[in-house]
Symmetry: none
Subunit: 120 residues, 2 copies
Amino acid sequence: MILLDYRDARPIYAQICDGFRDQICTGILRPGDKLPSVRELATQLTINPNTIQRAYRELEVQGWVASEAGRGSFVLGIPESGENAALLKEFDKLTARLLAAGVSRETLLQHLGKGGNDNA
Amino acid sequence: MILLDYRDARPIYAQICDGFRDQICTGILRPGDKLPSVRELATQLTINPNTIQRAYRELEVQGWVASEAGRGSFVLGIPESGENAALLKEFDKLTARLLAAGVSRETLLQHLGKGGNDNA
DNA sequence: TCACTATACTGTATTAGTACAGTTTTGTCA
DNA sequence: TGACAAAACTGTACTAATACAGTATAGTGA
């Protein structure tokens, strides 16, 4: 259950992020669990679905959850160190740059496929 | 002068991006030139300043312009694109690092999917 | 039972309203 | 002239309204 505190200076989406991070850290939410849909939670908290989406996207970028269009958002687990976030940001910038330079997404996908082996 | 075509399927912000890219490529706008402020252009086009900001941000991420809070947005020039190979090499290196750090290929694919996908 | 279509979900994208924070310029007073 | 406060800019952040696109499921016919 996510609770909002409107006296809190932090934005709503950040409070939602924190709420889910807590629930994942304490084991209330476990890898594979489904998060409430953006509309469901938005209705429950009486805020706009877009604000939920903003929170889910944040959690996704940071590696806590994964969202799939048409299916839902699912818990991944506690992401590895915070340094990865910085690396991922760099990754995003580089990607944008390559796309702007005319390199196709296919090419990048191929490069991604070629890399090492393991996974997390 | 940026012109909008509301019959165009492309979103407004993408049209604005294209407009400025054209002006930079053709030399109408040169490095160091100041772009109209988000409010000024928004008023001129009778759209919301936020839509302009979206376009400027896109151009900034791609390396065409630089925005400074309180000062304005300025043309940088045509982003380097000659040595895509070098950029791709950097991409590979960064990818390897991320994978080694425990970031899953899934996460990287998601990041790739999220990147801006305006012009063809 | 199986195939297919309609529908009811899901996340996502685009644009807008509004408030905030940083910088520059202008005005005022000593 | 110089210092300093006020105001007029600037980009940015947060939330919301709305429309779109993908997926799963329920319903219907053979």
